[in-house]
C-alpha cells in the first residue's frame, strides 16, 4: 500500500481481503459486509483457520475477495456444504455467506436444519428484500406492496404470501447459540454489526453451536433508487418489518 505522510494509519484494507476492487454496484451493502467479515477475521487472528462457503446470487463473487480457503456451493446448499466441511474438519472456523433468495427461498430447508442441529457454523445472511443477480425479482423477504420485476403491482399477500423473518424464525429453535439482525446503513450500526459478526464467530469458536447474523442491506440498482435513498429505505421501511436486535445468545 502506498503511504502518504501521515503519522498513523486510521484506515486500510484488512489483511484478509484480496487487493481487488469489489465488483458490487455503487451503494450495494455487500462491500461493507464483506469488509466487516474480513476485519473481524483479522482482529481474531483466525484467517488460517477459516473456510468460507459462498452461495449463488450476487454473493457468489465474494470468494474472490477473501484470502481464506473458499468452497463454492450450489444455490441454497451452503449450510449443507458447510456441514460436510465441519464434520471432516472439527477445528476449522466455517462460515457461509448467503443472500435472501439463497437462504430463505431455495435453501430454507438447509438453513433451518443446520440451525436445528446446532451445526457449529456461522451464517452471514444478507437480506436486501430483492433478487440482485437475476435482475430485481421478488425475494422471500420482499415487503408487502413492494414493486419488483416479478411483482410489478406490488407484493400481494394473497398471491405471494408474507415476507419471512428468518432471524425470529430460527430463534424459535432450541439449538442455535447466537442469532442477531443488524443494519449497515450508518456508522453506528456498522459498528454494532461488526460486534455481531465477532460474537457470531466467538460463539462458534466456543463450541456453543450455530450462529447467524442477518444484515439488512441495500440494493440501489434493483430498488431503482440512488444509494442515499436506498439506504434511507432500508433504515425506514425495511427495518420496520425486520427489527434489529439480538434474538438468541448463549447468555440467555
Amino acid at each position: 500500500m502506498s503511504t502518504t505522510n501521515v503519522e498513523r494509519v486510521l484506515f486500510e484494507r484488512p489483511q484478509s481481503l484480496v487487493a481487488l476492487p469489489f465488483p458490487y454496484c455503487p451503494g450495494c451493502s455487500h462491500g461493507i459486509i464483506n469488509r466487516l467479515v474480513a476485519e473481524v477475521v483479522d482482529s481474531l487472528g483466525i484467517s488460517e483457520r477459516v473456510v468460507g462457503v459462498t452461495s449463488i446470487g450476487c454473493s457468489v463473487r465474494c470468494w474472490k475477495h477473501f484470502t481464506y480457503d473458499m468452497v463454492q456451493a450450489a444455490h441454497g446448499r451452503a449450510p449443507a456444504v458447510a456441514t460436510g466441511l465441519r464434520r471432516v474438519m472439527p477445528d476449522r472456523i466455517i462460515f457461509t455467506y448467503q443472500g435472501d433468495g439463497d437462504l430463505a427461498a431455495i435453501g430454507t430447508a438447509e438453513a433451518l436444519h443446520s440451525a436445528a442441529r446446532g451445526e457449529r457454523i456461522t451464517i452471514f445472511f444478507v437480506n436486501n428484500a430483492i433478487y440482485g443477480a437475476t435482475g430485481g425479482q421478488m425475494a422471500p423477504t420482499t415487503l408487502l406492496g413492494q414493486k419488483t420485476s416479478s411483482s410489478p403491482y406490488g407484493r400481494d399477500p394473497v398471491a405471494a404470501g408474507f415476507p419471512i423473518r428468518v432471524a425470529e424464525l430460527l430463534a424459535t429453535l432450541p439449538a442455535p447459540g447466537y442469532i442477531a439482525r443488524v443494519g449497515v446503513f450508518d456508522a453506528a450500526n456498522v459498528n454494532r454489526a461488526r460486534r455481531a459478526v465477532q460474537r457470531a464467530f466467538e460463539v462458534q469458536m466456543e463450541g456453543k453451536g450455530f450462529s447467524l447474523v442477518e444484515f439488512l442491506a441495500s440494493c440501489p440498482t434493483n430498488l431503482k433508487m440512488d444509494p442515499v435513498k436506498a439506504n434511507e429505505w432500508v433504515q425506514k421501511e425495511l427495518q420496520q418489518y425486520f427489527p434489529l436486535g439480538q434474538f438468541k445468545s448463549p447468555e440467555e
Binding site: 458447510a82 471432516v88 430447508a109 436444519h113
Partner: protein, 347 residues
C-alpha cells in the same frame, strides 16, 4: 485366504466402504437402500467416523460435496427417486472435481415407482444424470462379493480421476445374502493436496464449481474431455463367460447377468452355444469386450430389467457388425432363466 462370511449385499457394501477408509456418510432413508444408512449409523460412531441423516437427498449430496472438499473419503446411498434429487449436487461435484461415492440401489420407476429391483437408471447413471457434459465412473456389481470389491474400487477410481463414482445396484443385490471373502486390507486413501484440509500454513485453496470466466469454463470442459478419454482407455471392465465359441452373445449386467448366466448354462447342457459379456464398468462402457466377436457370434441379445437402455451402448460398440436385439421391460419386470433361454433360441 480369509474365512468366508455370509453378508447381505447392502451390509457388504457398507463394510467395504469402511475398509476403503470412508469415515463419513450423509444420507436420507429410502427403501431398498436404507440398510446401508442403518449399518453405517451403527458402525461409523464405533470407529470415530460421522454419520448424519440429512433433511433430504438434496442436502445429503451437498454435505458429501463439503466433506469431499475437505479431502475425506465420503459417500451417500439412495434409491432412484432420491438419486434424481441428488443430480444437481453430482453435477457440481463433477465440475469441482470432487471424488465421492454415490450408491444407487435402484428401484422400479419412473416417478415414485415401487421397490422391486430394476435397471432403469442406466441412462441417468451413464450419461451424467444432471446438467452439463460430465460422466460418473459407474460400476455394476452382480454378487455380494462384488458389492464389497467394487465399492473399494469405486473409491480408488474416484480419487484417481478426482471424479464422483457410482455403484449401480438393485434391491435384490442389496438384500441378498451370499458368502463373502475379505481380501487384504486396502491401502490408505491418498492425501489430497488440492483439498481445503490444512495441517500447515499455506496459500488459500479454492473449490469452485463455476470457473472464473467463460474461457475458464471452456478450459474445464477440455480438461474433463481429456480426463474421460483416459478413463475410457484404462478403466473398461467386464467379464466374458463362454464367449469364445458362442453363436449368441448375451449382454447383461448385475442381476440380469446372473439370470442370463443360468440360462446360458442350461442351454450349454442342451448343446446350444451361448455366451455372456457382463459389463462391470457401465461407464466407461466396455466397448473393448466386443472386439472381434463377429468371427464366431451371429447376434447379440441384450437382457435388461429396463425397457432398453444399455442396448444403445451395445449397438454403438458392435457398430453394425452383427445384429443386436434387446429384451427387457421397466417397472419391476424380472426375467426368469427360462424366458432368457427362449429368447436366445429365437436368434
Amino acid at each position: 485366504m480369509s474365512e468366508k462370511v455370509l453378508m447381505k449385499g447392502n451390509e457388504a457394501l457398507s463394510e467395504a466402504a469402511i475398509r476403503a477408509g470412508c469415515r463419513h456418510f450423509f444420507g436420507y432413508p429410502i427403501t431398498p437402500s436404507s440398510e446401508i444408512l442403518e449399518y453405517l449409523a451403527f458402525r461409523l460412531p464405533q470407529i470415530g467416523g460421522t454419520f448424519l441423516q440429512s433433511e433430504s437427498e438434496v442436502a445429503a449430496i451437498n454435505m458429501v460435496y463439503g466433506a469431499a472438499a475437505a479431502g475425506a473419503r465420503v459417500m451417500t446411498a439412495s434409491s432412484s427417486p432420491g438419486v434424481s434429487l441428488m443430480q444437481e449436487g453430482i453435477s457440481y461435484a463433477a465440475a469441482a472435481e470432487l471424488p465421492c461415492l454415490v450408491v444407487n440401489v435402484t428401484r422400479a420407476s419412473p416417478g415414485l415407482g415401487r421397490i422391486p429391483p430394476a435397471q432403469s437408471d442406466y441412462w441417468q447413471a451413464t450419461r451424467g444424470g444432471g446438467h452439463g457434459d460430465y460422466h460418473l465412473i459407474v460400476l455394476a456389481p452382480f454378487s455380494v462379493q462384488e458389492m464389497a470389491d467394487l465399492t473399494i474400487l469405486a473409491f480408488d477410481l474416484a480419487d484417481k480421476y478426482r471424479n464422483p463414482a457410482m455403484i449401480l445396484a438393485d434391491g435384490m443385490l442389496g438384500q441378498m445374502m451370499e458368502p463373502l471373502e475379505w481380501g487384504n486390507q486396502p491401502q490408505d486413501p491418498p492425501v489430497k493436496e488440492w483439498s481445503v484440509s490444512r495441517t500447515e500454513s499455506r496459500d488459500r485453496r479454492l473449490i469452485l464449481a463455476a470457473p472464473i470466466s467463460d474461457e475458464g469454463l471452456l478450459e474445464l470442459n477440455c480438461h474433463l474431455v481429456e480426463k474421460y478419454a483416459r478413463a475410457r482407455e484404462d478403466e473398461q471392465r467386464w467379464q466374458s463367460y463362454l464367449v469364445d465359441d458362442a453363436e449368441t452373445i448375451v449382454v447383461a449386467y448385475g442381476t440380469a447377468a446372473r439370470i442370463s448366466a443360468e440360462a446360458i448354462e442350461s442351454l450349454r447342457k442342451k448343446g446350444h452355444r451361448a455366451g455372456l459379456i457382463r459389463p462391470i464398468s457401465l461407464w466407461p462402457f466396455p466397448a473393448k469386450a466386443f472386439a472381434g466377436i463377429e468371427t464366431t457370434a451371429g447376434s447379440c441379445l441384450v437382457v435388461e430389467m429396463s425397457s432398453g437402455q444399455m442396448v444403445d451402448d451395445v449397438r454403438l460398440a458392435v457398430n453394425g457388425r452383427i445384429p443386436v436385439r434387446g429384451m427387457g421391460l421397466g417397472g419391476g419386470w424380472i426375467p426368469t432363466p427360462e424366458m432368457v433361454e427362449e429368447e436366445i433360441l429365437k436368434s
